[in-house]
């Protein structure tokens, strides 16, 4: 807990934690990876770059870290232009996808590496590395080598190593990708706790929308080198700016309606018996159950209509649909107010 006090980000800096303007990047003669990224990340925010692989989220992270230079555009950190600066001259630390721990050094030395480079005394190095290791519950095994650790432990060391230098910004490149589901959940909570405790700005890259929703203060959704939408998890889920965002975040039913598309979330639909008469402000879709997937607390059903190729995915509490089976005739019912017209 000593660490927390010393690690609060100093307030002498001005401007947003990260400010990107007009960033473009392409590799070799291939397709452009980034087609003009504008983004502002606020101080002490847990900010997630979300998107499918190849959408440009990792490249954006590498441009913030200084591992690559943009073809055009500028990068500002804390109000200071750092576009041409190499990583070692930026007040940023990164947690790499493969952890990037030095195999020839003990955990202690791994965590203390940055301090050693900066010429911090051995005693202080040791003390601060121990504190950082304690923060991720590994203070007892500081003299081990990375090869002697499990994947989850290595990941914690990588986090301690990023934290110990007290950067104003930590970049995390899909750090939980290699962990199994249970460990992943634990680390999500742990990362969020540490981010809150230290007040350091976290920029987090992931392709896992569930992870993004549960951890982030705000999210930027990437698709094919552009940002589709920036917003809080709730805003993205409830008011997606495009069909892409609606499809990528949560599961969705999207239907053409006049000139545009409308969105209907599966959990807003309920199942009633065949021939249900809708009340005012209700809409109904009569059809047959095509697929049933039991998911524990909820059951997902796909309802197909007799005269249309459109299907409707419905997620309902499992309790309410005992005895449901494929081929059954049902009415899918929803309130007109849960239909969200997607911006064009």
């Amino acid at each position: 807990m000593e660490l927390t006090k010393t690690m609060t980000v100093s307030s002498s800096q001005t401007g947003p934690a990260v400010f990107l303007t007009g960033l473009t990047k392409s590799y070799g003669h291939g397709k452009p990876v980034l087609k003009g990224i504008d983004l502002e990340i606020r101080r002490s925010e847990f900010f997630t770059l979300l998107g499918p692989s190849g959408s440009g989220k990792t490249t954006t992270l590498r441009l913030i870290g200084g591992f690559e230079l943009p073809d055009a555009g500028e990068v500002f950190l804390n109000g200071k232009k750092v576009t041409p600066l190499p990583p070692y001259r930026r007040d940023v630390n990164t947690m790499f996808q493969d952890y990037a721990l030095f195999p020839h050094m003990s955990l202690q030395d791994n965590v203390a590496y940055g301090m050693k480079i900066r010429g911090v005394s051995a005693a202080e190095r040791h003390e601060r590395a121990q504190q950082a290791l304690a923060m991720v519950h590994l203070e007892a095994v500081g003299d081990r080598r990375p090869a002697q650790l499990s994947g989850g432990q290595r990941q914690r060391v990588a986090l301690a190593r990023a934290l110990v230098n007290e950067p104003s910004l930590i970049l995390l490149d899909e750090p939980l990708g290699a962990l199994d589901l249970k460990l992943r959940r634990e680390m999500q909570v742990e990362l969020k706790r540490i981010q809150k405790q230290t007040g350091i700005t976290f920029v987090y890259v992931t392709h896992d929308q569930e992870e993004a929703l549960s951890m982030s203060d705000r999210i930027a959704v990437f698709s094919e080198g552009v940002i589709e939408q920036v917003g809080t998890p709730q805003a993205l889920y409830e008011h997606p700016a495009s069909a892409f965002v609606a499809r990528f975040i949560g599961s969705s039913n999207i239907f053409p309606d006049g000139d545009g598309d409308i969105l209907l979330r599966p959990e807003d639909v309920r199942l009633e018996a065949e021939g249900y008469v809708p009340a005012a402000e209700e809409q109904v879709f009569p059809g047959f159950i095509q697929e049933v997937s039991y998911l524990g607390p909820v059951t997902r059903c796909v309802v197909g209509g007799p005269e249309t190729e459109h299907t409707l995915t419905v997620v309902v509490p499992s309790r309410g649909v005992r005895g449901i089976g494929e081929g059954m005739a049902v009415s899918a019912v929803w309130s007109s107010s849960s239909v969200y017209p997607l911006p064009r």
Binding site: D98, Y113, G114
Partner: protein
């Protein structure tokens, strides 16, 4: 039953190579060890099968042999250090800085000399370093003082360095290639300049590659006798040359065996050190 038959199968498979190694390799090593403690009658040239430490006593007390042993080990060490220094820039560029096609091209260039006869390459160096050789032509036409490396330890050093450079390059390249790029990113991320990254991450992680390369540059140089014969002078004898002349010219096999034993012990000890540094870990 099946287990027993399986074991029998394994034994049958291993027996021929194992037997071959035991009889011809370990057997001859054992005879070498025995004969090192025998002697040759200086009058009749007959072998006397009586235990004696005389051979070793001569080797330790006679200054000539001490100097030869020191020269052999000294030049082998110098060649190793020189090859490490020469190999680094090229290995680094090949491993990290060029595209796959350029890499293949450079690797072929590195391996190309190995397809020609070693003797031819050593003779080529005689032509380069000789008093009227290529090197002196250049020096003369550039108005520089001429060199007289031919048939000296310097010539030996240059030729050995040349001969074993590819063998230092190859393992060093693969060691540098095996360092994940993210480690270099991570070092830079924590404030290390490119030189600090080299010193604290790349160099230490490439030590196994250098250790593997030194098995050639050091251990093989130690046992060499052809190169000293061809490009070395009167004062450039190696342990191998003493062994060679004692076997061939003077017929003193026990003495040659004793000197060989010393060489074997040095090489054996060196291999243990090289193993400690990871020379044989997953090539």
């Amino acid at each position: 039953m099946t287990g027993g038959r399986k074991l029998l199968g394994h034994v049958a498979l291993l027996l021929p190579p194992f037997g071959w190694l035991t009889v011809f390799y370990l057997g001859s090593l054992f005879i070498l060890l025995l004969s090192a403690f025998w002697q040759v009658d200086s009058m009749s040239g007959e072998m006397i099968h009586e235990w004696t430490l005389d051979n070793f006593r001569v080797l330790v007390t006679d200054e000539t042999y001490r100097i030869i042993a020191e020269r052999t080990i000294g030049i082998a060490a110098l060649v190793t250090v020189t090859d490490i220094i020469l190999a680094w820039p090229l290995a680094y560029v090949i491993a990290r800085k060029v595209g796959p096609r350029m890499k293949l091209f450079l690797l072929v260039l590195v391996a190309l000399p190995l397809w020609s006869s070693m003797l031819a390459r050593i003779y080529a160096w005689r032509l380069i370093l000789g008093h009227d050789g290529v090197l002196n032509w250049f020096l003369r036409s550039a108005g520089l003082p001429e060199q007289s490396f031919a048939f000296t330890n310097v010539a030996l050093w240059i030729v050995f360095t040349y001969l074993w450079l590819p063998f230092m390059l190859m393992p060093l390249i693969s060691a540098i290639e095996r360092i994940p790029a993210s480690l270099l990113d991570a070092a830079g991320d924590m404030g290390a300049t490119p030189f600090q990254t080299f010193r604290t991450v790349i160099f230490p992680l490439a030590i196994p590659g250098m250790a593997a390369g030194s098995v050639f540059t050091f251990a093989v140089t130690l046992g060499e006798y052809v190169t000293p014969m061809l490009v070395g002078g009167a004062g450039s004898e190696f342990i191998g040359n003493v062994v060679y002349s004692n076997v061939g010219v003077s017929g003193n096999i026990p003495f040659a065996a004793a000197f060989s034993m010393i060489l074997l012990v040095v090489i054996g000890a060196y291999m243990l050190v090289a193993r400690r540094f990871g020379a044989f870990d997953g090539a």
